[in-house]
Structure formats: C-alpha cells, structure tokens
Symmetry: C2
Subunit: 342 residues, 2 copies
Amino acid sequence: MVPATVTNRQIRLRKRPVGKPAPDDFEITVASVPVPGDGEVLRRTIYLSLDPYMRGRMSDARSYAAPVSLGGVMVGHTVSEVVESRHPSFQPGDVVAGYDGWQEYACSAGGGLRRLDRELPLTAAIGILGMPGLTAYVGLIDIGQPKANETVVVSAASGAVGSVVGQLAKIRACRAVGVAGSAEKCRYVVEELGFDACVNYKSDDLGAALRAVCPDGVDIYFDNVGGAVLAAVLRLINRGARIPLCGLISEYNATDPPPGPNLRPLLVNRATIRGFIVSDHSDRTGAFLQECAPLVRAGRLRYREDIVDGLDAAPRALIGLLEGRNFGKLIVRVSAEPGRES
Amino acid sequence: MVPATVTNRQIRLRKRPVGKPAPDDFEITVASVPVPGDGEVLRRTIYLSLDPYMRGRMSDARSYAAPVSLGGVMVGHTVSEVVESRHPSFQPGDVVAGYDGWQEYACSAGGGLRRLDRELPLTAAIGILGMPGLTAYVGLIDIGQPKANETVVVSAASGAVGSVVGQLAKIRACRAVGVAGSAEKCRYVVEELGFDACVNYKSDDLGAALRAVCPDGVDIYFDNVGGAVLAAVLRLINRGARIPLCGLISEYNATDPPPGPNLRPLLVNRATIRGFIVSDHSDRTGAFLQECAPLVRAGRLRYREDIVDGLDAAPRALIGLLEGRNFGKLIVRVSAEPGRES
C-alpha cells in the first residue's frame, strides 16, 4: 500500500514546441496516486527511457503514432515495481517493463506489462534489450541484410541504437564505421565498442573523413539522423546498397521540412532507402532476444547509459538528447531500484 | 554490297556538356562504310532511339555505365537492316535490333543483335517492346508490386516509359495517375491511354492538383524525373509505399547536384525508394514480352511516337527530350524501312 501522503508527480505536455522544445513546453503536475480497481495493477516508476521519437509525439504533424494530447502525460517506456496488485499475474515486488510515461505511478489492467527477471540490469529492458536494441536488430539484420566483409556505417553511433548496430555488424563479420558528434564519443565507439572506425561529423570535412575510413565504399548505411551525414554517406554507397532509415534526428526540431539529399546515387547504384518503425516488427522480439540477451550477458554486446536523476530532470534531458548532448542510452532514474534504496 | 560512293555519317561527342547540352557538343563526321570481315555483319541503321539516359553517357561523372569517350560515336539502341553478312545467322535483308549508336552503318560480329519479325512495327523493338517497355515492366511489376485498387502515380507519363507504366497499372486494376508537362500531353494520357487522371506539373499548385486526383493517397510512385514532382508525391504516400526510382530527368542537366526531397514521409510511412537500371533485369525480357507483345498486337497497350527525320536531327532532338519537348517515344528515322523506300 502506498501511504496516503504520497503523490504522483507527472510531466505533461503544456504546449507544442515550435522548433526546439523548451522547458516551459512541459509542466509538472501533482495528482493523487491511483487506487487499483479489480484486475488492475499499480506500479511505481523506477526508470523512464528518453528517446528521440518523443519529439514527434510532442508535435501534431502527421506521423506514425498519435501525438500526446495537450495537457496529456508524456509517453515513454518504463521499468516499474508493482506496489499493489488486484491482477492474478502480478504480485507486489514484481519488476515490470511497460509504457507508463513520464510519471511516478501508473495504474492499469496490466496489458503491455512484461515481468522482468532480475538476472540482467533492469535498465537493459528499456535499452539494449528493449526498443532501441530491437530497432538496431530489425534495421540492420532484416532490412540491411548484412553479408560478411561488407561495410556498415551507422550515425548516432554512440547512442542506444547505433551502438548496437555497429556491434552486431562486427558479429556479422562486417566492417563497422560509426559517425558521432564528439572526439570522446568516437573514441568510445572504437575503443569500447570495437567499431573499426568512427568519424566526428563536426570535423571539417565529413565527406573526406568518411571516404578515408570506408575504402571499399558503403554497403549498408543505418541512418538515425538524416541531414548532412546522410548526404555525405550517399556519395560513397556501393552498388546494391541498403539504407534502413530509422530516424532523422537532425531535423526533428526543424520548423519547415528541410530539403533532403540528392538521390542520384540511389539510381546509379541501384540502392534502396527504406523507412521503418520498430513497432511494426514486434514479431522479431523473440529472435532478437534469443541472439542478443546471451551476448549482453557474456559482455559481447556492450552499452553505456547516461542516467539523470529525478523525473523533474526529464524535460531538459530530452532537449539535450535532441541536440546530441547525451552520451549513451538516456534514462531517467525516477525512483530507486528495489533493494537498492539510496 | 554497299556502293563505294556511300559513306557512313556518324555523330560523335565533341565535348562534354556543362549543364544543358548544346548542338556544338556534338560533331558530325563522315567515314567510309566498314567492310565486314569473316564472321561479321554489316548493317544500315533504320531507326535510332533517343532516351534520357544518354545525357549521362555524355558526362564523365561516375554512373552505372562508362561514358562515351570524347570523339567517340554516341551510343543508342537501333533497328537496322543487314546489308552484308559473313555470319551464318544473319542474311542480307534481315532486320535486327541492336545497340549501334548514332551512325548510318555499323559492323561487328553480331553479338547483341536480335532478329525482328516483321509482324509488329519495327519501332516497337526500341520502344514499347524494347528497353523503355521493359523498364516500365520491371519498375512497376517487380519493384512496385502493384495490388488491385492501389494508386499508381507516374511522372513523364506521356513518354516511352511512363505511358506503359500507367497502362500496365490499369491492367493490374490500379488507379493510374500521370504527371506530364502540358495540357495536350495530359489529355492524351487520359483520353488515349486510359489513365484515370493526369496532372500538368507546370500548373500552379502541383501538390493540390495531385491531392485532388489521389483521394486515397499514393501506393506506388514510378519516378522518372525527381525534383519538385518527387517532393510533391512524397507528401501523399501511403503506408508501405514503393517508389521505383527510374530516372531523374529534371536534374540531368544540373551542373551541381541539387538537393533532394525531404525524406520524413519515407520514415513515417515505412516507405521504400529503390533505384534500378533496366540492364540489370534482362532476365525479365521473356516474361515482359510474353505479357506485353500480345497486348500491343491487340491494341490494349498503346503508344505514341515522336519521329524526327535524318541522323543530323539527333542532337537537337535529344536536347529537346531533356526539356520535355518531345511528345511520345523519340525516334530518329536514319534511313527508310526496307520495302518502304520513300
């Protein structure tokens, strides 16, 4: 039971951002903690995942998912502890992955909740073995279809998705080349994650730098960012190249859609760009976890987390994510893990 | 035997165009008619096909095929009459399809020559049942994978490729929408070819005009032109849309690669753009002819030709093609058809 004095802090969308989101596009409200009805589960949020797609949910431009309504609680993947249950499948103390959004407590009939075993770090469920990991897997393996000795380039390479793409590419015997936004991130990508090379897109000549580290051209470009990086990589693609288009972070804050890359390389090289959304591919979760969970346990798939403390830190953290200021999977620690009260 | 007084006029690439080709990028030269050696076939060009890809061959920018060398004879598909043969498979009087280029006579060992039956118009071999027809077939059927009731949009709709795309789309029970460059072309596309609608891309508001004739969105966009038309169609695509990228005529004369369309619709709609080159798909020739030759004979696949007379007219005709000044498949009549001396 939650003591009556405890409240449920929530972060809501106060107004739709024009361009870059600002802190006052959000508002913090305080509600009472819901009381679970028959068949319902009340849980306390431990971790909230912050991801680039959230910028899309703040906007009402047509997209693949409905926007957060004005005044609505921001959405997001979560790891939570069950604190009260009137549902036969969940017991207090269970730790579950869900989609509870930016709030301290959530209550529902339990649809979409998945009980986590405690063998792996809890944050893995919203990171490397969660939506970002599955995104990397589907985009690289199913859409990219990597073959040994091909060159795979991935943007946002130190991020939650990109870091997995490059490591899976290495496991598939490909050359893995990252693109990231600082020398420190590039070092991490090569030294810690084992990519063959990583280019700092803020360096002077992106095209020349990429060419130097892709001597055999580019067979797969897993794109998270669009913009100048996409244009530069397109100039290096090989015949039959595949370009899974996962995100366009560089333009999520644009007020008008900017022009895209010249597409002549697609024609000359008989190449394919294919947009995809991970939620269409949930049937691949089993195959993904079967391959990747053991790799995570064995330390062969590595990851880095950028954890900020407290729900109130979420707005500024998301704003920073859209500018590449995070370093690793961005997660908000909303409350302490069970057994690890601090 | 060709009388000794007969010469072989040839059109060669004198210099590489910067931007729009000009007549003096070409030069007309006169050579003697080759004498076939053992195993060789001498033929006289009857028809020369002019096609947008030739602009690419005039440039030395990296492409899918080697450029015409400076001073070299311009390349192109041809219909010819065998005038002398020392090859067992060809007899004088045979009419063959080949790739003899911009010249009155050609001589070789016969590789790449295909004897034509005379049941169909000879020009069909370089038009509706030749490379342009196969391009339409491969792009629409194999890459586009049309399903009944889908909406197919095609640019350069009155041209050699586009006209076939729309008619095949109708045969596959799709809605066929063309984009063309004049009211007269649009009328032809709807009234003669049976498309459901055709938009004049020079009309004031391309986006609104397209939206009006694609009330259910766009499932397949067969793109021949790139540029503003591609950008406008992308804003209307449906989930899972396929975009066979066949050509980018609107930018073939550009001196610098212009930017492309914003790609966010690809992401939101999980859509695919795939560049293709017809020469990769010659294994589909049999299936194509099996379906389309009877349709042409039955008058169910219609086509229009824009025939100019005399080899010397070829440079200006190609220049006009790149500006959309032709109306129908552009062909040069280099000499009279056998039995139809004029």
